[in-house]
Amino acid sequence: MKKYKFHLLALFATFMLLTSCGNNNGSKQSNGALNASAAEKVYVAPGEQDEYYAFLSGGYSGNLTVYGLPSGRMFKEIPVFSQFPTSGYGYSEETKPMLETSHGFIPWDDLHHPDISQTNGELDGRWIFVNGNNTPRIARVSLTTFETEEIIEIPNSAGNHSSSFITENTEYVVAGTRFSVPVPQRDMPISEYKSNFKGALSFINVDPEHGHMDIKFQLLMPGFNYDLSHPGRGKSHGWFFFTTYNTEEASTLLEVNASQNDKDFIAAVNWKKIEEYVNNGGGTKMPAKYAHNIYDESTHTGTTTMKNEVLTVNPIDVPGAVYFLPTPKSPHGCDVDPTGQYIIGNGKLSADLTVHSFDKMLEAIEGEKFDGEAYGIPILKFEDVLAGTVKSGGLGPLHTEFDDKGNAYTTFFISSEVVKWKLGTWEVIDRKPTYYSVGHLMIPGGNSRKPFGKYVVAMNKITKDRYLPTGPEMEHSAQIYDISGEKMELIYDFPTHGEPHYAAGCPASLLAPKSKKLYRLDENKHPYAVTSPDKARVERKGKEVHIYMSTIRSHFTPDNIEGIKVGDKVYFHITNHEQDFDVPHGFSILGQNTSELLIMPGQTKTSVWEPKQVGVWPFYCTDFCSALHQEMQGYVRVSPADSNIELSWSLGD
């Protein structure tokens, strides 16, 4: 804590200095000050800490990366949807269940949109939710352990893209489908897509205490593509907004065929109304197979439950629950300003931004000013709901975030720039180039009621010449802009891992003080844990051998094991007896067909080894743990399948 305060003070002092310099120089103070030293603004001196956390999605890495702002330093990669040999996630017996789905074990996904949990529309720093795009899933990551705690699969969904955004008290995490598909899935001609396929928007309720997720209902919408979404907040709390494209309902050559209509829609969903309908017994239960995986921190183990039913709601059964807001040119990003009044649709084939007014939307609904309907869902008149248009002059607007001074910042993919504009007047205040082809951008808290408008991070799709070349494949590039002044200032470039699609950020002070340092050994409820070294042992159950092993600097107990035979299935259950911050131990054995384990203090993890060759095989600690790390090793003797060597184990004799 002290460090943040110090840092803040230091920043404040710097700012004061800069301001006073500006005054001496005369009128253009903010510009002069901003140009003074970009380096100083991103410099976090050795031993000091960053002011903000930033969680960048890893896209096709399947994982979530943690960075510091303003330094752009990467602190951690949190494995979520992808196996991670670095720690053994998805390889250890305890974590394999996390990657189970109705399609079996899947070692990978495409992770897109992180969103931090909120209370009263403000970031509360309990969890961060992310979506798996390819095999639709939502994951919840703890912001005390920075580990994946839960993954729920979403049935009837495909290309889980308008996800995973949360309502302002984390009542729901919402997962919308990009592809419409037959619901339920069945064998049918693709050409019969139109009016037969459905788009499922899933509302997953979140237990306020444990964060556990459960699909409350799925709204089965017309077969459009549901691209992105954001919750209403403040006055519009209780509503959710989804951009759509392919209202043409094309199933082929979407590049052309989904770009025919001049306007697609933003779907406004009154989820409170549907919640009430469902609570009163509304909706239809439908068979659906999906996996629900929960990691228990006290047993250090994940378990999979296969579910077989989901509650679906047909929107026309709940009058007044869903409306379409016409929005030009295949809108992509769907963003709601901090007051909840404006809903911004970023028409990606347009130069302009369309801003809808929540108040005007309510009036139009009240006055029943409809412009027709689509599959029974009323379409509101474009002019009736329009608050304004931002004539940006850019091309290909994608996403918008907000600061705490009434400004919005929108990325333009085609013209590679971030444009700052004023909410209400719609005037463009500033524009700065990005390098190159920016996708998402992120301001900490920038899609909540309380943004921290100091930096914006632009996440680019194309890197080209920004760094030393590394062959045809390069990491993507991000840029940090200082947005504390009237004009934005590019202050730093940093490479990112995978392909960030969106990010979420928050003040370091929200998370750092409660970040877990170790797991308490006396709270370890793992069934194969050994809580004292005298319980370390080896047990045989037919061809299964269970090795209950403990570790502490710098030895394994036991470290000599004999009586293992070719054809055995050997489980190493390893408990790290350290109770000190940042002293993990690793484990690996020669010839093992899996990754290492990295075991945190007080934790138990299990690795399976099926020895195929006779011999004496070494194992060792893979994490440099102490001055005697190189001594942290042992041997397992593997005898022929028919040998009668007795099982034995020892340490030091």
Partner: protein, 168 residues
């Protein structure tokens, strides 16, 4: 095997002696669970004429850390000692065995060698002790540089372990 081991050690030893001028910390080979054969391979340390740290009596030394003064009642609190024994088993026995030298020294008879404050300070913050306390530093060297792990005990827990040590 043993012969090879000894030869290797002799070579190590001679190497070590030949560069005796250096102040480098050299690890001795680990003799887990064996009767210490240390006499036969005594390494020349600068303070070799001194009593090894594990044998020294330093009852006046309270060590460095937050424990400044501990008054021990005349009788042992059995319940407390029992809790201490349990904590010791879980958190310490990986390195400390009753009645024999292991990764670290045996706690048997420790109350005759160290002050209660020193013991508790060592449990509560071994890193600080090794930095600031001469005896703790010498023990680290004597025990092959195997640094004692901080097991994040509370003061109360350390006190319970101390009570258990009184029963040994």
């Amino acid at each position: 095997m043993k012969a090879i081991h000894r030869i290797a050690m002799l070579i190590t030893l001679s190497l070590f002696i030949s560069c005796g001028g250096k102040e480098e910390k050299k690890k001795e080979s680990i003799q887990i669970g064996k009767e210490p054969k240390v006499e036969s391979i005594k390494v020349k340390e600068p303070e070799s004429e001194e009593v090894p740290a594990s044998k020294r009596i330093t009852l006046e030394n309270k060590g460095v850390g937050k424990i400044k003064n501990i008054e021990l009642p005349a009788t042992i609190d059995d319940a407390m000692a029992e809790r201490g024994a349990e904590l010791f088993k879980t958190n310490c026995t990986a390195c400390h065995k009753i009645g024999k030298r292991f990764i670290g020294p045996s706690p048997s008879g420790i109350m005759k060698r160290r002050s209660p404050e020193w013991i508790m300070n060592m449990i509560l913050d071994p890193q600080l002790m090794v930095e600031k306390d001469r005896c703790a530093k010498d023990l680290l060297i004597e025990f092959n540089g195997a640094a004692m792990a901080n097991q994040n005990m509370t003061e109360e827990q350390a006190r319970e372990i101390l009570e258990y040590f009184r029963t040994l």
